[in-house]
């Protein structure tokens, strides 16, 4: 990746943990709920990125191909033409590879009906996790676990 020379590599453990975090959410809210979460996540993350401004298209292309633009921070972007960009590797590839290597096959995601998770999964809003988090309180709090 073009950005690797400027950004440190992430620890694979964090990527694996994040995948498991998403799996856990999927278990609670189903595929549609997870999709809504991911869309919401993309909006939040993109919204927190700094704005960029270029005077010319060629300046933007240059920034894109040298990893200076936010679009190429996480992945190598190669222009095919002035308006056609390509990425050679998925930015998630490393996480998937590490997961398969260290944990094994991806866990199946249960298909839940939207009514079962307490909210619409088509409206674009992520379903509530509060009730599910609370209901697990008895099984995962530290004090309940034997040493």
């Amino acid at each position: 990746m073009a950005s690797e020379s400027r950004m440190p590599e992430s620890n694979p453990f964090v990527e694996i943990a994040t995948h498991l975090f998403l799996e856990d959410i999927a278990t609670k809210v189903g595929i549609a709920g997870l999709n809504n979460y991911l869309v919401s996540l993309a909006k939040n993350l993109a919204g927190s990125m700094p704005k960029e401004e270029y005077t010319t298209w060629s300046e933007f292309l240059s920034a894109l191909s040298t990893g200076q633009s936010i679009l190429s921070t996480f992945e190598e972007v190669r222009p095919i033409t002035d308006h056609c960009m390509s990425t050679f590797h998925s930015p998630f590839e490393r996480g998937w590879r590490e997961y398969a290597k260290r944990v094994g096959a991806f866990a199946p995601v249960p298909i839940l009906r939207s009514s079962a998770v307490g909210g619409s999964t088509r409206s674009g809003s992520a379903p509530s996790l509060r009730s599910t988090a609370r209901s697990r309180n008895t099984t995962i709090t530290r004090s309940d676990r034997p040493l």
Partner: protein, 206 residues
């Protein structure tokens, strides 16, 4: 990329489940990951420490772990029942740097989850990932046996990217290690923990 997205995801989840809900989620993820790692058995501490050094144990998933073989933990009979282990760099530090580089600042959600954990569970976290990491280590230790005894893990000390340090008085007393030793170790390491045989009667245990 997904590691940088994690902080945004947690920010979103705090709105839905609260910081306490996120702590519970993280702990559950720690349980899940540990349950999916295989069991391991070692003839003795020497073979286990060699396996740690060569990154062959389940603990190696977190990165480079150094067994501090000069810091043995002994029981009332003087037998070695455990050692200290340390990481020079916290697993989450690269992600913090990547986030600061890509986004500009860490999400306040990181601090919210950290504070929640420190106030209500164990005052040892220096980032939100500690919540998951501590539980993962505690669970994975149960799956590893040395000389036929399964292990218990005690997180002793942490140092965050900003230099903030945390020492667990409770766990330090449990394994009878002097807090000054912990402070000395934190100059070179960012995360120090002890692995001891479960049920061992540790010498000088307070």
């Amino acid at each position: 990329m997904i590691d940088v997205a994690l902080a945004s995801l947690i920010e979103d989840m705090i709105e839905k489940a609260g910081a306490d809900g996120v702590v519970e989620f993280w702990q559950r993820v720690g349980d899940n990951l540990a349950s999916r790692m295989g069991k391991e058995a070692y003839l003795g501490w020497t073979s286990f420490n060699v396996a740690v050094r060569e990154a062959r144990t389940a603990f190696s998933i977190e990165g480079d772990v150094t067994p501090l073989t000069d810091m043995a933990i002994t029981d009332v009979d003087g037998d070695v029942v455990g050692y200290l282990y340390a990481m020079r760099q916290c697993c989450y530090v690269p992600t913090i740097f990547r986030t600061r580089f890509a986004v500009g600042r860490m999400s306040p959600a990181d601090k919210a989850v950290t504070d929640e954990y420190n106030e209500n569970v164990h005052n040892i976290a220096v980032c939100n990932f500690c919540v998951f990491h501590e539980r993962f280590r505690e669970e994975i230790a149960k799956n590893i046996s040395v000389s036929g005894n399964s292990l218990a893990c005690f997180l002793l000390a942490t140092r965050g990217w900003s230099g903030e340090t945390k020492i667990s008085s409770k766990n330090v007393a449990q394994v009878n290690i002097n807090e000054d030793h912990m402070r000395a170790l934190l100059r070179n390491y960012e995360c120090v923990y002890a692995l001891v045989m479960r049920g061992a009667r540790i010498k000088g245990e307070r």
